[in-house]
Symmetry: C2
Subunit: 206 residues, 2 copies
């Protein structure tokens, strides 16, 4: 156990090292960096997280982080309310938005099923998704979760849950990455890309 | 430029990514983690840095981080006040303390000379070191700075500055690491370890 010259320093290092992927050495380095910053900048730093945590709002439709009751995507009249893409968290929304290929809405689950971490259906925004389908406005639900065991389990759970509704359930295409070489693709991905081969004209449309 | 769904979120990501070694993707991941934490834990997190920055004290003798006017090392009557080890920052103090091999005092420079980053002699705690030597109590100053160009320059600068005093100036030994194999040592280190070879009895004393 490392000996710290000050309890305040140790407390700050402890707080930093509770974050995922931040070890104690990194935490100490970051804290020493903060000590070299002007006092008002450190106040702005610390308060930015407190302010975010206390004032954050979530869109009541899609559970995206929002500045008002509904987020800018759900409010956008240009977007197709019949298309809902189910994603794990807002980083996925940002990644999909960056492609400029998607003009539907989203539904943010807030995680995926993971019994080991105590995340069951009750911890995810699944009820909200069911309610959206009950309106009858949604014609297609696109599953865009990780292709891990947890992701696949979650998709399977949702599939059963959404089956009673008259809605198309699709998943985003899995296959060899564009610009990727065949020999470097793993065999599961390559196998799937052969099973799910696409008509040439569709592939061109990209 | 990434589009964030909320200005508060963007502000928090900006604050995190100002820290050294934290990119925007990592910052977003950390901020999303904070959002999942209870509100009072996030307050404790943010306030720990503000409190540290505002209430931190530095030892007026050695400039170590301290909880009072002088640090616990400088106050310790068991330690030899005639020995002063010059280090860059408190991480070095912690590393040396972990060896349990050193019973003298420290002097924390607060950095090393680096004109590119605007760090000149005035930015370092050099005047405090000179004042310590003026008391006549110090018989040996041990330089324990990085063996980089900046570190060597700083040692050279200090050497000239401290020359007028009747004090022994030494540097910690540079050589092949213990447990290290010769063939993996870089040639500069290996060359230096041959030039500065030690009598066998001293090497045993370790």
């Amino acid at each position: 156990m490392q000996h710290y010259p000050s309890k305040l320093l140790e407390a700050a290092v402890n707080e930093f090292s509770r974050l995922p992927g931040v070890g104690r050495k990194t935490a100490l380095r970051l804290v020493l960096h903060l000590l070299r910053m002007p006092s008002q900048e450190v106040e702005r730093f610390g308060n930015s997280f407190i302010k975010l945590r206390n004032e954050i709002q979530y869109c009541k439709i899609c559970f995206n982080i929002s500045e008002s009751e509904t987020c800018s995507i759900c409010r956008d009249p240009q977007r197709d309310p019949g298309l809902v893409m189910v994603v794990e968290d807002i980083r996925d929304v940002m990644a999909v938005e960056n492609t400029s290929q998607y003009k539907g809405l989203y539904h943010i689950l807030g995680g995926i099923l993971n019994p080991m971490d105590g995340i069951g259906p009750a911890q995810l925004n699944i009820q909200g998704l069911v309610q959206r389908l009950e309106t009858g406005l949604v014609r297609e639900v696109i599953m865009a979760l990780s292709t891990t065991m947890e992701g696949d389990t979650t998709v399977f759970y949702l599939f059963k849950k959404l089956k009673p509704f008259e809605v198309n359930i699709t998943t985003i295409a899995r296959g060899v990455a564009i610009g990727g070489e065949l020999e470097y693709a793993d065999e599961v991905t390559l196998g799937r890309s052969i099973l799910n081969r696409t008509p040439y004209e569709n592939a061109l449309a990209k």
